[in-house]
């Protein structure tokens, strides 16, 4: 039997705390590069104006120690726990919640979580949404993803007919981005999950957003073709940066897929605003 490696809950909390603070203050280079490229190529004057301010904001956030966006998100956490890890000194889920609580308190991040009916704020941005997987190995991989409400509100899960096929999926995704219009803070990144069950398609759509911006699906060439075709159609809508008009409605389209039931074609679209924040650490 493989030796179990001990990892303490304190270390897990501390890692999450640091990740959530870091990603709320610093934008990833992949996103920044995509925004700079868009600013160079955007044809609309108001669109270029918006992209210019968006890029400027990244510098100011860094210089002035301010979160990039006031919506510092619902805390979404992906954990991959190696099966040769022994978690000690507490409970994994409590450790994650405690790390999120510390990040939002000590990092001056906004608490944006409430009771769905009374709308009363939980005051510490918990509970985080946790997706845990057991994997091979003796490490824990943790991904922190603060997700803003404006772009999440423009996301959806549907079950299409198998007969709708590739064309139907593409039409549906383009239609979702068109309907979202200026609301999710374009330029957006469009995450698409195809197949699985209804809830797995939603998870695939969210996981698709974790890929570096613009990196195509390397597993299946049908998907990479769909990604580039949908991106082209979306950017022909005219919505543009912030909906002010232009050719940059989306920076990228990322698709993930799993087999599904013979009767079904689940499709989820998860829209991510241009402040696409996520970071990971391996313990």
């Amino acid at each position: 039997m493989a030796e179990l490696r001990k990892i303490s809950c304190r270390e897990i909390s501390k890692t999450l705390r640091d990740l959530f603070i870091d990603v709320n203050y610093n934008l990833g280079d992949d996103v920044l590069d995509a925004l700079k490229h868009a600013a160079d190529t955007e044809e609309s004057e108001l669109g270029r104006y918006a992209l210019g301010r968006i890029i400027e904001n990244v510098d100011i956030a860094d210089r002035e120690s301010l979160p990039l966006c006031q919506d510092t998100g619902l805390a979404v956490v992906f954990v991959e726990v190696g099966q040769d890890v022994h978690i000690v000194d507490g409970d994994l889920y409590d450790a994650i919640q405690s790390g999120v609580r510390e990040a939002y308190r000590e990092g001056f991040l906004r608490k944006s979580v409430c009771d769905p009916l009374s709308r009363e704020n939980t005051s510490d941005n918990t509970p985080a949404v946790i997706h845990a997987d057991i994997v091979r190995g003796d490490t824990i991989r943790i991904i922190a993803m603060p997700k803003g409400g404006g772009s999440e509100n423009m996301s959806s899960s549907v079950v299409l007919l198998p007969a709708d096929g590739i064309e139907g999926i593409q039409r549906h995704v383009v239609d979702m981005v068109k309907k979202a219009g200026p609301n999710p803070c374009p330029p957006v990144i469009v995450g698409v999950g195809i197949g699985g069950s209804i809830e797995l398609s939603a998870l695939l759509a969210k996981k698709a957003l974790l890929r570096p911006v613009g990196e195509e699906n390397s597993q299946d060439s049908r998907l990479s073709t769909m990604e580039s075709e949908i991106l082209k159609e979306v950017n022909a809508l005219g919505v543009g940066p912030q909906g002010y008009g232009g050719a940059t409605t989306a920076l990228a389209v990322h698709i993930e897929m799993m087999p599904c039931h013979i009767a079904s074609l689940p499709v989820s679209v998860n829209i991510q605003c241009h402040v696409a924040r996520h970071g990971e650490a391996i313990i």
Partner: protein, 191 residues
């Protein structure tokens, strides 16, 4: 980009009439913040005929809830939330004298009609540039509903707040114009 025009609050009829869809502006002066729950409370009070905790005449409401300020700072990061969630309350507040709104995203046809009828204006602030916008805020004070935490209503003193006119008092809509320009559809919005 042409020279960016500067405007000052309170918004007068004359200022509102002079604004057109797609104008990029710098706004300075006093504005209020308020979002979902604050709007519902103002609306309910108005429907019941009670007096409001804030004076809305000539006022601008910014749909925003900032991050907590670090010690010694005026405010944390601040930026617009999606305006459509305030749509059902907005015409009533415009009737009570509200002249301007700052948010992001499309408004309902009822709000657009109300803007036209009462010579008001809807501005967008760029979403996701909250560190930049925070630099324009020189004063901040909670004026109503402190128990709402980040969603409390605040009075802000702002200098050169960067805004774009989305809906003007002539019935125009920048978002619709942007999409119809691309698709070649009739520009009903800019009639």
């Amino acid at each position: 980009m042409e020279e960016i025009r500067k405007i000052q609050t309170p918004l007068t009829d004359e200022i509102c009439r002079s604004l057109s869809v797609g104008d990029a502006l710098s706004l300075s002066g006093t504005i209020l913040t308020g979002r979902d729950v604050a709007h519902r409370r103002l609306f309910d009070a108005a429907v019941r005929g009670e007096s409001l905790p804030v004076d809305l005449s000539g006022m601008v409401i910014f749909y925003a809830a900032p991050t907590p300020a670090r010690p010694g700072r005026v405010i944390g990061s601040i930026g617009p939330t999606t305006s459509m969630r305030m749509d059902r309350y907005t015409p009533k507040l415009i009737e009570l004298g509200l002249k301007g709104m700052i948010g992001k995203g499309s408004r309902s046809s009822a709000v657009r009609e109300s803007i036209k009828e009462h010579n008001a204006v809807y501005f967008a602030a760029i979403g996701g540039v909250a560190a930049l916008m925070s630099q324009c805020v020189k004063g901040a004070e909670v004026v109503a509903f402190p128990e709402l935490g980040p969603e409390a209503m605040m009075r802000l003193e702002v200098v050169d707040f960067p805004l774009v006119v989305i809906n003007d008092s002539k019935g125009g809509d920048l978002y619709e114009a942007a999409v119809s320009r691309r698709t070649g559809a009739p520009q009903s919005a800019t009639r």
